[in-house]
């Protein structure tokens, strides 16, 4: 290889490193901004420009009862919809990965469709259904909606995890006299648990942060994102930034702990 080519290759690789770092910075900058401004003591009502450093927002986290109730509602909806979506989504993924049946491809495509539909259409169409059937909007309609958009995500994630599953382990359990029920709970379930956990974290996060579909089907209920939206004009209190930072740190820790546990388990294996 000529010298010029070598120099060009080194330059290209340096350039790639710098470019990738800048791209990551671009992804993380707004998160850092959100976290930083939870320590801002804004002048006036809008929390857009830096004034001075304070811990006050963290100490007065629960000051606005509307905000506290919005956070509570969001967590509750996220919890319920995650449990339902993860359960029914995992069952669907098992059917799609392990069984051959008529219309399997068609059903696969149908499950994919909600992911290919813009959120605004999902939200708006649900609203027309609820309005036509005169179903009052509120937490129940939000749970119905959140499960709907989360199911497809769970199925896609679980399908990828189940595809690598060694079916011989189940056969071995059956050969050793385990009933299908025992096989499921003692062999299958522990093995797919990391996948279920990953899907649940994803579903929980998507539900907690959903604004568009929620906006259409919330009625008078204020979730955390709806609260933020309604405050944009009047100025978002910095406690909102503190809550968002808290959520971020909590999920990141959860994912990190999960990864560590999985690594430890992998190391334990002979």
């Amino acid at each position: 290889m000529s010298l010029i080519r070598k120099i060009a290759a080194v330059a290209a690789s340096r350039f790639l490193t710098i470019y990738a770092s800048l791209a990551l910075l671009y992804l993380l900058l707004p998160i850092l901004t959100v976290a930083l401004f939870s320590f801002n003591d804004p002048i006036g009502r809008s929390n857009y420009s830096w004034a001075s450093f304070t811990f006050d927002n963290w100490l007065t986290l629960f000051r606005d009862p509307t905000l506290v109730s919005a956070v509570g509602i969001s967590l509750r909806i996220a919890l319920v919809s995650t449990i339902i979506a993860t359960t029914i989504g995992t069952l669907m993924a098992m059917a799609l990965v392990r069984y051959q049946f008529k219309f399997r491809k068609g059903i696969d495509l149908f499950i994919f469709l909600p992911l290919a539909t813009p959120e605004i259409v999902l939200g708006a169409s649900l609203l027309t259904l609820f309005v036509t059937l005169r179903i009052p909007l509120g937490e129940i309609t939000l749970i119905l909606a959140h499960v709907m958009f989360n199911v497809s995500y769970v199925v896609v994630t679980m399908k990828a995890r189940l595809a690598g599953f060694d079916m011989r382990l189940e056969e071995a359990a059956a050969d050793l006299g385990a009933t299908p029920w025992q096989t499921f709970w003692r062999v299958t379930f522990p093995l797919i648990l990391p996948g279920i956990a990953a899907s649940a974290v994803l579903a929980f996060g998507l539900s907690l942060d959903d604004f568009v579909i929620t906006r259409f089907n919330a009625g008078q209920v204020q979730t955390f994102p709806v609260y933020i939206y309604l405050k944009v004009q009047k100025g978002i209190p910095p406690q909102v930034n503190a809550f968002a930072t808290l959520f971020f740190v909590a999920t990141v820790s959860l994912v990190a702990i999960g990864a560590l546990l999985q690594r430890r388990r992998a190391n334990l294996k002979p």
Binding site: L27, V121, L129, V252
Partner: protein, 289 residues
């Protein structure tokens, strides 16, 4: 249990039943209802009535809001291009150069999803603000007109959209790059391909499914978005999403709003179908995440 043992073919059906019921009730039925609503006339107060003669809802909506449609497609297209320009080198770096840092970097890519979408977008108001860390120093140094601003311009809206959806571009491209058999690249070099030649003739073609899937997953939410246009734009940057949400939630003109959303949906499904033809549906659904 006895029933299942006698009819094992029922097992997949039973596993699918709860999820399918949910999706049919809260995805399929609402879309059918929305299609029906687009042929309504009347108001929320007086009640709505259905008639096929109300197909004029479509032509009215289209002639009134064609500008917003055009803008959505345009912004979505530009944002998708920007996403690709950001995503491909980053995905390539993570797949080929990151080594052990790979899983940490991948996590950083999805990290934005773990904090509020609205707040991140509002974060851009701070970053792009008139005296922000970007514009402030440039103005102080006299490099930029003191009256110059990023906020409330189409630029800010497109940048915001690109930012919000770029992980959807990075992940599928990363997956397709990561799957490439490294021996193919070695073979190319053994056969005297330059590194650029190997990239162009081996890596790039094998990354195509990821690029296609990523573009689709970025473009779909991009053209339906209204948050960025609302928080970072001005009244002349409204997209079709802004119109739909206003018609539904403020003006309560359900028929027009339903017609607008249905057209958006058809536009996107036509795109997906085209992609499906090009790639095969299995490829598309498996590459999605």
């Amino acid at each position: 249990m006895g029933l299942i043992r006698r009819h094992p073919a029922l097992v997949p059906l039973l596993l699918l039943a709860p999820g399918l019921t949910w999706l049919v009730s809260f995805y399929l039925a609402p879309n059918i209802q929305m299609f029906a609503s687009s042929f309504w006339s009347g108001t929320l107060e007086s009640g709505f009535s259905f008639s096929f003669s109300n197909w004029t809802n479509y032509t009215d909506a289209l002639s009134k809001y064609q500008q917003q449609y055009a803008r959505s497609i345009q912004y979505g297209f530009v944002a998708t291009l920007i996403c690709f320009a950001i995503a491909f080198p980053l995905a390539y770096f993570i797949a080929f150069k990151a080594g052990r840092a790979r899983s940490v970097l991948l996590f950083l890519v999805v990290a934005p999803f773990f904090t509020s979408y609205l707040l991140r977008t509002i974060g851009w108001r701070t970053i792009l603000g008139d005296d922000s860390i970007i514009l402030g120093p440039l103005k102080a140094a006299g490099l930029v007109d003191p009256a110059a601003r990023f906020l409330d311009t189409p630029f800010a809206v497109i940048a915001g959209i690109a930012y919000n959806f770029v992980p959807f571009m990075i992940l599928p491209i990363y997956v397709s790059l990561e799957k490439i058999d490294r021996r193919l690249l070695e073979a190319a070099q053994d056969l005297y391909a330059s590194s650029w030649g190997a990239f162009r003739r081996v890596t790039l073609p094998l990354a195509m499914p990821g690029i296609f899937a990523g573009s689709l997953l970025t473009f779909i939410p991009a053209i339906g978005d209204f948050i960025n246009a609302e928080l970072l734009g001005n009244p002349n940057t409204t997209m079709v999403g802004n119109v739909i949400q206003r018609q539904f939630l403020v003006d309560r003109d359900y028929p027009t709003a339903a017609a607008l959303s249905f057209m958006l949906m058809v536009l996107i499904l036509a795109g997906v179908a085209l992609y499906g033809r090009l790639l095969g549906t299995e490829e598309l659904t498996s590459k999605a995440i």
